[in-house]
Amino acid sequence: MSGVQVDTTAPPGAGVTGEEPAAAVYDLVKRYGRAPVNAVDGVTFTVRPGEVFGLLGPNGAGKTTTIGVLTTRVRPTAGRATVGGVDVVADPVGARGQIAVVPQRSNLDRSLSIRDNLIFHAAYHGVSPRDRARRADELLDQFGLLPRANSKPDFFSGGESQRVMIARALMHAPRVLFLDEPSTGLDPAARLFVWDRLRDLKAAGVTQVLTTHDMYEAAALADRIGIMDHGKLLALDRPAALVQSLPGSTTLDLVLAPAGPAVSDLLVELSQLPAVERLEELPADPDDQGSEPAVRVRLYVAGEAPGLVAPAAAAAAGRGMRLVDIRLGTPTLEDVFIHLTGRTLR
């Protein structure tokens, strides 16, 4: 279902596969008030029906604003956005009928019980009274909330609130479900529960658009991922294809100390070691409170990385430096982000 092609040039109204996109933005620009820069700066993508589409980027990348435009809560400065074929600016009421939104922070109605939260939501969306009650019970059961259906949201944990909000979103059977940072702040168990439910929804054919700054979440859930930074879409592909686009099949992180004038020569020497395809200098580890200044580098290696540890240590010694720490790994979406921006996701 998820093709490899990067669709950034489709003209308005044209889906890649010929079917109508579940959601799409074309040359989207948003600038807030007197802000000096665009929060979203010329973004184009289409989301296919049934697809789980992830927007990955650090806080402030423009993900939430993009979702805000698609969900009619943010007015675009320029460009076009559609959900289910409906233009969100020309027909916001029609667009709202196509979508459901699970926000980052709980916005449950605290005056109502969980069950009434679901039922009134459906009423706002014009679901008939009989269907409301039946669907509420089904969803409460599915999300493990039935025993507490009559409690008020104040007594719910973050994970439980998130479950309630997803159940609520499904009450009116939306064509596209938008989730803003669906598992931020949840404990690991709650997070896995939410992930499982989202996978169930995908199996049931519900199109999902989610934002996250967590690469594990993006990789775990999304069919395709758009990487955003500073309001721009830097890359868009399947997670595996994004990672494969990086040079090297394994990584070797080195921490070298003391950092001094010899570092630049050492980096050149390291990058010329056999099988090293690329070298990326990493930002200093904020947790590292070591007394001596150190430099962190990541080598992208074709083949096996462990064989490089000894030559790297020898090269460092030759320049009067020591190898303080090493870590072996395989490239991840975080490496894609580093490759594209020179920064880490946090």
């Binding site: 807030y32 805000g68 969900t71 009619t72 809560r73 943010v74 007015r75 916001p92 009421v93 029609g94 709202r96 009928g97 979508i99 459901a100 939104v101 926000p103 922070r105 709980s106 916005n107 449950l108 109605d109 605290r110 005056s111 109502l112 009434d116 009134f120 939501h121 009423a123 706002y124 969306h125 014009g126 609520r168």
Partner: protein
């Protein structure tokens, strides 16, 4: 949406009644009963005060029913988001808020009648002026709701306390609810200040309906000023609502 608000209020009826009745009840009791019994006010004062307190109840209840919840919903509970995302015009969400606050205010004003009878023994009531009474109560309730809409959409949560002090208290005491406006001729500057408060026209309109012998502003002037103020406040309020709802 209206059903949601009614549902919540119905489940919380004692709180609602305490909220709307307590303040006018004490004002009525102290100014109408206690001061009268002690001889500090003249005999007719309670009759003059009662229409003013109905006006106060209508305006203040309308304002409180809208402003407080709206500041919270836009500011930190975000409860309103679910309604803003419903497939209906954003203006309708604002209209529902105004309608609900108005209904609460009308209810509270009507409740004042038995409360008045209970505290004062009798109230100045004229069946012949029922129409005017109803029109002014409805306009006063709408006025309160419109003020609430403006406050609720323009105030950030941290400012809420100071805004209520700066807006609420002056509004309470410059609205001619405790004195008839024409009698202020000896305090001309205060007469001007109170004329700027639209609540004055609610108080005066109700006096025209209930105690026409007390000098009052002509009903047609009251109605015109109230309709004009409503148009201005609603326009400002709905625009501000849109700005909060869609950035």
């Amino acid at each position: 949406m209206l059903r949601r608000d009614v549902h919540v209020t119905a489940h919380d009826l004692p709180t609602f009644l305490a909220q709307v009745i307590l303040q006018p009840l004490f004002l009525l009791f102290v100014f109408g009963k206690v001061l009268g019994s002690l001889g500090y006010t003249r005999g007719g004062y309670a009759n003059l005060l009662f229409p003013g307190l109905v006006a106060l109840t209508a305006v203040i209840t309308g304002m409180q029913s809208l402003a407080f919840p709206l500041v919270a919903e836009f500011g930190w509970t975000m409860e309103i988001e679910d309604r803003l995302l419903a497939p209906m015009s954003t203006a309708l969400v604002a209209a529902e808020k105004v309608l609900f606050a108005t209904l609460r205010a009308i209810t509270a004003s009507v409740v004042m009648i038995p409360v008045g009878i209970l505290v004062l023994g009798s109230i100045p009531w004229r069946w012949s002026a029922l129409g005017l009474f109803a029109v002014i109560v409805i306009l006063g309730s709408l006025l309160g709701a419109a003020m609430g809409l403006v406050i609720g959409t323009s105030v950030q949560p941290p400012q809420i306390n100071i805004v209520f002090t700066l807006v609420f208290t002056p509004l309470l005491f410059t609205g001619s609810s405790q004195y008839p406006w024409p009698s202020l001729s000896r305090l001309p500057w205060f007469k001007v200040v109170t004329a700027m408060n639209p609540m004055t026209y609610v108080s005066e309109g109700l006096r025209a309906a209930m105690v026409p012998r007390v000098p009052h502003i002509e009903p047609w002037i009251c109605v015109s000023v109230l309709v004009g103020s409503l148009l201005v406040l609603m326009t400002v309020g709905v625009r501000a609502f849109y700005r909060r709802a869609i950035t």
